[in-house]
Subunit: 481 residues, 2 copies
């Protein structure tokens, strides 16, 4: 095996493990501007696969894509009071263009509610124009002080959905539908179990009436908010004059929503599944579901030719079955290849040399198992095709069991304090923002969400203030990214 | 038919025809910043289909996608002299971010050669790392003074390929391969015939050694450059220090290429095919290949139900055959629907009412024909499935015949002057940039390209200066967008 400096273990320094792995696994590289990263092909392919699955779900739920310009007049942000308060500190501002100073500075979009609102006001005249169900795939800039690849970057790739509806009920149903789409992406594709819930007032999107979230547990027990869906009420409709003639020919303001999922989901995949050897990628999103390593001594021309013929046969059959498979025929030692593909988290690897061929078998390395399996060549393709959904199920179950083991229900302050050291804590909270702040100062934990399907808080009191519960359900406390 | 203000005809004012059509057909809308347009779902779906086909061809030719940040330090542009000269007048510059003035201003990418060069220098160490075959799908900003939707906009969507090679031969082969990919996209998907050729020195990309182009004829006889592929020599490799150890362990500079195709291709589709009624979309890229209009009086509930059942059957069969089909069941008069889908250029429309059902037929309107065809319902699906590639062929042939009718070979100055009034002129040119400039001033026409497969210039003299030909082939003169 080639000598490679090992990763820090997750136990000794989870943060260092992450920060080294994203570079070593060729996911990202540093760009010239602080906090803006290059996403390399291996990382970008993950994002492309996320995009493909999400986009199909958006279209299946009746949405269409479109494109808005990224430069927004600064004055637009002033129109919605909470929105400007939330976003102005993070804006990147274009003051000069075409060799001249601009009359009005332009912000690079941090999110597009304002410019979308301006156009929706023009497009929406009658209830017949509603609902308007649109989505944008684009890049945004938020000037963050502390950045980390995928998790918090000054520029990131994402999608932002923006819809307008005639009624509050319809808009709230849309917000819920899109949260469910995100939960499906996380659970059924990324193999990351998530808690669907509502954000408390202090954690809401700037300008929203309600923010729903999916929260996932990383392997250090911290939470990662992985997608959010907002009911904006009539706030933006009033700020941008999005009105329509309703069925009774009365003027009314539309109810709008927005929802976004970003390259942060790649960070979720890395931290929810990875181990000390490196990444473990969910097969439905992995760039390569199977890597085949043909072996054989360099002086055994005949053996290598026979192996290559069998590899080509197997790979052609896998591709015909829709499997994403890569042949690694680089002039590099098998040990170095094994090390690299383990670190890059390829779900299944096939090692095949002349001796295996003589024995009529291949060795299959499953990234979730320590030992290789010996599989007859006659059944190899079927074995691999079946192993892909099975790998997904085992990976999901592994993450679910991990989360369960690290989740406690706290009835006392001490239990809360102890619980957030290692994972999620389910507890009753009074809903007072001042109490939330005090808890965060004392424990570094925040209310991640009030779960939609959770433990009833009926008859219980706040673990911090002893006051009655502020919500129907107990909340989830955790430290978070 | 609903009353709609008609489009200007192409003959009376082609430019006004275009400028009205892009809005009326719901392709674009005005954004708040001059020159940056909103691409609406009907226009964006065209771009998504272009992306899908191009991306498949990129991957089939061995390329991978990745993502670079859009903000580039201004100093990067200084490193390649011709590049900075070409692009600095068009840069949009971020001077403030996060509430503070930046130490170094950042440009929004007008193209990414500089930032790509910086990273390639890091990624490329040995000949084993070559070739590097990467592509970016993104948005760029070029502050243009005169803008038009799709054709010239201050922000646009595109892809930019960036590759690095060990040898000049390999790099030049790549440039040619990608030009061929663009030509295939234009001809086999957009049904737009193109001339593949080389740009003269004055029309080259800023920093390139060679620029290849595909040039298409619009229906006013003008040319539209629709995609370009550049051999950058070692210019950027030297500016950004992209060196590698070659097979003989000698340090060498890489040879790089770049190639781009943008939303301008949507403009090409509009202007190469449209007529006085509106768009005519190439079926392989059209958002809807078939639109079905169910008919029936509003008081004939039973008739409408029967029609809807048949429509659902036909649409399900079409979708199963991979056809993109839309049912237009809006509460709008059939006449208004017919007018709208003609203007939106849907290749095939099916009108079906209770009387048609009784007769066992449907009416099929082909956008390239004046009259509707009566088609037996039993054969309707097969008819439509077959009509799609046939429509593509007829549309391509129509554009090819138009171009042929508007292309002349000029042997004299007067023939050149007359020819560029209505179309393309094939003529010998001496290659002198001063002569090119004088021709442009006199005729508004430029050398669009020196065709790769063209008319030999052997033994002929320049139509302007009488000097010997500067190129192997006669060149194409035309007025251009």
């Amino acid at each position: 095996m080639a000598k490679q400096p090992a990763l820090p273990t997750q136990a000794e320094d989870f943060s260092a493990w992450y920060n080294e792995l994203v570079y070593k696994a060729d996911l990202v590289d540093l760009g010239p501007v602080r906090g803006a990263f290059v996403i390399r092909p291996y990382g970008y392919a993950l994002w492309e696969n996320i995009q493909r699955e999400l986009d199909a779900m958006f279209k299946a739920t009746g949405h269409e894509n479109l494109s808005f310009p990224m430069l927004i007049p600064m004055s637009y942000f002033q129109r919605e009071a909470k929105h400007v308060e939330g976003f102005s500190p993070e804006l990147a501002v274009v003051t000069h263009a075409g060799g001249q100073e601009l009359e009005e500075p332009l912000a690079i979009r941090p999110t597009s509610e304002t410019i979308v609102g301006e156009l929706y006001a023009k497009w929406i005249q009658s209830y017949r124009d509603l609902p308007l169900l649109y989505n944008l795939w684009n890049n945004v800039v938020r000037w963050e002080m502390r950045t980390r690849p995928f998790l918090r970057t000054s520029e990131f790739l994402w999608q932002e959905g923006h819809t307008a509806h005639a009624t509050e009920d319809e808009a709230r149903a849309e917000v819920r539908t899109m949260l469910d789409v995100y939960a499906r992406l996380a659970e059924e594709f990324a193999a990351v179990p998530v808690i669907r819930g509502e954000k408390t007032e202090g954690e809401r999107f700037a300008g929203a009436v309600e923010t729903l979230t999916i929260e996932a547990m990383m392997r250090d027990g911290k939470a990662l908010q992985s997608g959010t869906s907002h009911y904006l009420g009539q706030n933006f409709a009033k700020a941008f004059d999005i009105t329509f003639n309703d069925v009774d020919n009365q003027q009314a303001h539309a109810h709008t929503t927005s929802w976004g999922l970003s390259t942060r989901m790649v960070g979720a995949i890395i931290m929810a599944h990875g181990d000390d050897q490196g990444l473990i990628l969910p097969p439905k999103l992995a760039p390569h579901q199977v890597v085949v390593v043909p072996m054989g001594r360099s002086n055994d021309e005949e053996g290598r030719t026979r192996v290559r013929a069998e590899v080509d046969r197997v790979v052609a059959a896998l591709r015909a079955a829709g499997v994403r498979v890569k042949i690694d025929d680089r002039d590099v030692s098998p040990g170095a290849k094994f090390y690299e593909w383990e670190q890059k988290g390829v779900p299944l690897r096939v090692d095949l040399g002349p001796k295996d061929l003589d024995a009529g078998t291949a060795l299959v390395k499953d990234r979730l198992k320590d030992e290789k399996d010996t599989v007859p060549l006659s059944g190899l393709v079927d074995h691999l095709v079946a192993a892909i959904p099975d790998f997904h199920d085992r990976l999901f179950e592994r993450a679910r069991a991990f989360r369960e083991a690290r989740t406690v229900e706290a009835h006392t302050w001490d239990e809360l304090v102890a619980g957030v050291e290692t994972g999620f804590v389910i507890a009753t909270h009074c809903g007072d923002p001042e109490s939330e702040k005090a808890i965060q100062e004392a424990t570094k934990a925040t209310v991640r969400c009030i779960p939609l399907e959770g433990v009833s808080a009926e008859g219980t009191v706040c673990v911090h203030t002893g006051r009655p519960s502020g919500y129907r359900n107990k909340v989830v406390f955790a430290r978070a990214y």
